[in-house]
Amino acid sequence: MITVAGLRKSYGELEAVRGIDLEIRRGEIFAFLGPNGAGKTTTVEILEGYRTRTAGEVSVLGVDPARADRDWHQHVGFVLQECRLTPELTVTEAVSQYAGYYAAPRDVGETVDLVGLADKADSRTAQLSGGQQRRLDVALALVGDPELLFLDEPTTGFDPSARRQAWKVIASLRELGKTVFLTTHYMDEAQTLADRVAILSSGRIVAEGAPDELGEREQRPTQIRFRLPGGVGGAALPGSVSSRARIDGRAVSLSVHDPVPVLRDLTTWASEDGIELEGLEVRRPSLEDVYLELTDGTAETGSES
């Protein structure tokens, strides 16, 4: 569906994309993950044909998007980041207008239904909530019955319930057999929806794979945390624990590859001596931990330009 090799894009001195290779297969939901400013939108807009590239090979549906004609657009749908709708049209009218641009459009009513806007079909788009407008955006991209959909940050700024509804719509695209290229900076979104994830940081792909396998998450150490009661020093801990623990006042944390024997020693010691381990917590690294580590913690700062 999409093949990218050695893609680069420079804006003057700034190198926004520094050599990306990608392969997206038919029928998969692919999430392109990265902090703001990592080069996500630049990459997507090159794949969509909006931007030219500095170097590299790109093929989308067998065509170089930089040279794509109107016919190529019959098969590709875009949901752009931040696109407001025509406030004067109703939901059905907006979808009908776009349906008219395509050779073999989907049924308008069915498409409106699919994105969960059937009860808003006759409302002006100006009266829709942010989440509903975004779902209408998806309907506009979908009504031409494309093989491939690009969704650029489809849930940015949504409240949790609007996000879940949007996820339902995106997940339903899989049932229609569509290939979806999803851009997001939300971990949970990628984890919930995507078959495969690539994490972009400073213009490079730093990890790629199924959400569960990403960054060799399985092989990473487990975190154990708890607090000691007052009067109990770190020295009192069993040897297998104290030798690997980081102790900060009462707070103790360990990072171990063999959590079971360590926990056994710890809990045996605690119950025998009647010591309460306040806030005991055993955590596998989350996708978010992996992501933050891979993107050097830049995930929470910076803004897309």
Binding site: H73, E88, G100, A103
Partner: protein
């Protein structure tokens, strides 16, 4: 859809959007009529000696010119900039709709509104102010309308290239056009305007557009009433606008 059905499809939605937008309807349809009533009331039925017509006969073609410019240049400059900044133009570029069909829909919309306004102003002029409806000069009016609608539409597309944001669109288009209305004799009869100012106004297309309509409406006109010289200047401005638009028109937001 392709070809003519696609053009009609696009045009139909442009019409819908236009008539449902209160600002478009007010500024393009109602405001020119309000101007006509105000000017006709203030300046009454005085005679403009230099032109040998009553003021109302002067104002009908003046307001026709204003209405066409409003339906083309101003309406296009403001709406296209707004749609560009909303990301709507960018999204349309992501569909199979050819750019030519998109442009044709918008220009077609402006043209239809222009034709409507010419008829409405002419009829009000006749019924309320007893301004003779042109007969022999109808071909001249149609040609003037065609040349003007083309030229002022091109200038509308060209204007968007210097407008940075949707908030700036009404301000910039008015700042350029309103002073020209004053010095071109649209708001004030040109008999009241110093010659030097009129010569300056002659550089721009608005005064020539008005002159071409005036001759067609002037009951003293003998013959077909074509003002080819004025129309040529309007057309040259239109072509200049077209060149600017083709070179610098943007489909993507400037943000």
């Amino acid at each position: 859809m392709t070809g003519l059905p696609l053009l009609l499809h696009q045009f139909r939605y442009d019409q819908k959007v236009f008539w449902r937008n209160p600002a478009s309807v007010f500024f393009t349809v109602l405001l020119p009529l309000i101007f006509l009533f105000i000017f006709a009331t203030i300046f009454g039925n005085d005679e403009i000696e230099e032109r040998g017509v009553k003021t109302t006969t002067y104002y009908v073609p003046a307001i026709v010119a204003l209405a066409v410019i409003s339906a083309t240049t101003q309406s296009l400059a403001i709406n296209l900039t707004e749609d560009r900044e909303r990301g709507l133009l960018k999204r349309v570029r992501g569909t199979p709709l050819p750019a030519s069909a998109f442009v044709a829909g918008r220009v077609g919309n402006s043209l239809v509104v222009s034709i409507l306004m010419v008829i409405v102003v002419a009829v009000i002029g006749r019924l309320v102010y007893d301004v003779t409806l042109p007969t022999e000069t109808i071909p001249a009016i149609l040609v003037t309308l065609a040349v003007g609608a083309f030229a002022f539409s091109c200038l509308g597309f060209a204007l968007t290239t210097i407008i940075p944001s949707e908030d700036a669109a009404p301000a910039i288009s008015n700042a350029l056009i309103l002073p020209l209305y004053f010095i071109s004799g649209i708001f004030i009869p040109d008999s009241e305007i110093p010659d030097g100012v009129l010569h300056f106004a002659d550089v721009f297309p608005i005064r020539h557009f008005f002159e071409a309509f005036f001759t067609a409406w002037d009951p003293n006109t003998v013959g077909a009433g074509f003002e080819w010289g004025d129309l040529a200047i309007v057309a040259v401005w239109g072509l200049a606008g077209l060149v600017v638009a083709l070179r610098w028109f943007r489909w993507e937001p400037r943000r």
